[in-house]
Amino acid sequence: MKTVTLSHGGGGKAMKDLIDEVFVVAFDNPLLAPLDDQARVPMSALTQQGNRLAITTDSFVVDPLEFPGGDIGKLAVCGTINDLAVGGAVPLFLSCAAIIEEGLPFDVLHRIARSMAVAASEAGVQVITGDTKVVQRGACDKLFLTTTGVGAIRAGIELAADRARPGDAVLVNGVLGDHGSAILAARGDMALDAPIDSDCAALHGLVGAILAAAPATRFMRDATRGGIATVLNEIALAAKCGIEIDEAAVPLREAVKGFCEILGLDPLYLANEGRLVAIVPAEQADAALAAMCAHPLGKGACRIGQCTERRPGQVVMHTMLGGQRIVDMLIGDQLPRIC
């Protein structure tokens, strides 16, 4: 089995071979092809799409590298695209930096690079520049990826968390917690084989559909680490309004419910990689919802609650039983309970 060694990070021929053989082959496009220190993009590529540049960067570390429904490569492409998309940007270009731990099998690296390429091409974005480093065993965990994304925002689109107003509807595009459960289950340290796939997906198409149907949409955010609970808290704090959600309306897969039940986890805090929260004025909420449901990535879309005047800065859940509880920001990681 061929593995990456420190010599692949030495800057010499071995490194060039690795880059050519793994990344260039996979990402192949004219902007990347010169392999210069920088990719050069004509301004028109951006100005045709909008009047503002959107830039975002994110690092990806996940164990295991490959999991049901995706891998770190797909995650690195979709995650960064989503960070652009939820701001209303059309994603255009990505950079990719890889930090590889010596000993990583080439097969794995190939699979992940190909998976990135597939995700990028499906999303209509190009990976146009990158970097590779190889570090000693133990200095990183197998593979870390950092992607930077560039996109353009059309004139007139203004999305911001502080624009949420009492009365606005809180929408999500499908069942929650799939990604977090898939990763936990894939780690396999809980002797429980939940058939749950990650929801990892690029959401810019869906965002486009929402904005077309509900141009007054106030804000969107993908509910990644910290889950939906964290996003809602951020919105409530930024907009100084309350948010009330209805437990019975929060969409959850049966398998995820069972998983959380067994491990004592709260699905509201589980990570998602293909789910977003949209805050939409009440009068356009139905239109937004219909547009979401009509999109392949919004089939399970629903309204889970609304912004309120009461209790500014707080998220309150009406429980299934008819009680209420605060949904707070998470402190540290969720740790499974013992009994």
């Binding site: 340290d189 002797a191 859940m317 299934m320 009680g323 605060i326 540290g332 309970r337 013992i338 009994c339």
Partner: protein
């Protein structure tokens, strides 16, 4: 999950709450009826479903000591750290013990500083790690009431059978009955009735609680963990109070029997013996409330195997965990609640685990109040 949803029916909950209110109104007493749930699992359900807010004002729930993580004193955490940081040791632990503060930090901090501490979901996971690492010493941080005691015991028996020499347990298992007794004997007790622990009772049955009814004349209802279970059990306690009865009733009969689980009890009996006393956070030392391994299983006892400093550290002076545990104070009435003591920087253990009354209050209820 269909099975579970049955126990979360909103209409049934509303009916129960109406019945509870009806009985509560018939009480003529100048202070609220206090019902203690002994088990952390109930505390969790109460907060997660917002049950407290659904109950009439005359009823106050007191969140008892039944969160085994919450009652671990600082000294035991320090001892555990002393074991974890010895060369060659892999310490394995349930996740929620990771953040409990000792006097020199938590297991989570020790892990960040390089100790090999791994989260497991059961003692048998720890044994698996021991099999896979024959050149290391694998120690399991055993804690919990009778609920988790049998699985630790069975794992030790398995290790013995398979001749696994590099596995041991830092045993902090505690037993429920002396604890309830200590609460009943405390001078400032105001509790009117108890919700009995569900999981513990699956193992020990309901018979061991009879003294609560007979000697202390307090009602106890062994309760399940679904929100409707808890509401129904509260109703059952109230009905006993209204009718002047004090009995042990079993709401959780779908899994709890009077005699308990004989096989589990045999494993407990075989492996453990009572300690003369065991130190609890907030409650002090309680006689015969903890267990250790019998002589025959001493080699699996981490306290015999490693030099354990056996430190005794008094709870921080500002900490009022004891009063909260006994129901004399509500969590937010503690002087340091939400200021010096928060889930990020817990001073007392009730702030650590999601089952701890203070943490649950802080997360789910305090600001709503």
């Amino acid at each position: 999950m269909k099975y579970i949803d049955e126990f979360r029916d909103r209409d049934k909950a509303a009916t129960l709450v109406r019945e509870i209110s009806k009985i509560a109104q018939s009480f003529r007493q100048d202070r609220p009826i206090q019902i203690m749930e002994v088990c952390g699992g109930h505390t969790h359900a109460i907060f997660r479903y917002g049950l407290e807010g659904m109950l009439p004002e005359q009823i106050e729930l007191v969140h008892g000591p039944g969160c085994p993580v919450c009652v671990l004193p600082m000294g035991r955490i320090d001892d555990c750290l002393a074991i974890a940081t010895q060369p060659g040791v892999i310490l394995t632990t349930f996740g929620d013990a990771m953040r409990v503060p000792g006097s020199r930090g938590s297991l989570l901090q020790a892990k960040a500083n390089g100790a090999d501490i791994r989260m497991v979901y059961s003692p048998s996971d720890a044994l698996t790690i021991a099999r896979a690492n024959p050149d290391r010493e694998v120690v399991f941080f055993g804690l919990g009431f009778e609920t988790t005691m049998p699985s630790t015991a069975l794992t030790v028996l398995e290790a013995e059978r398979d001749g696994i020499g590099n596995f041991s347990v830092f045993c902090n298992h505690i037993t429920i009955v002396p604890t309830i007794k200590a609460i009943l004997d405390s001078a400032d007790l105001r509790i009117d009735g108890f919700l009995g622990p569900g999981h513990v009772s699956i193992i020990i049955g309901t018979n061991p609680y009879e003294f609560i009814a007979q000697h202390y004349r307090k009602p106890m209802v062994v309760s399940g963990f679904e929100p409707l279970d808890v509401l129904q059990s509260i109703w059952m306690v109230l009905r006993q109070l209204a009718e002047g009865r004090a009995e042990v009733e079993n709401q959780y009969a779908r899994v709890v029997s009077a005699g308990g689980n004989a096989a589990a009890l045999r494993a407990i009996e075989r492996v453990y013996e009572l300690r003369e006393f065991f130190e609890w956070r907030g409650l002090g030392s309680i006689d015969y409330s903890g267990v250790r391994f019998r002589k025959a299983y001493e080699r699996f006892d981490a306290e015999c195997r490693f030099a354990v400093p056996n430190v005794q550290i008094a709870d921080p002076a500002a900490c009022q965990c004891g009063d909260v545990l006994k129901g004399a104070l509500k969590p937010h009435q503690c002087k340091v609640f939400g200021t010096a003591c928060t889930p990020e920087t817990p001073l007392g253990a009730l702030m650590v685990s999601s089952e701890g009354a203070c943490a649950a209050y802080f997360r789910y209820a305090a600001k709503a109040a």
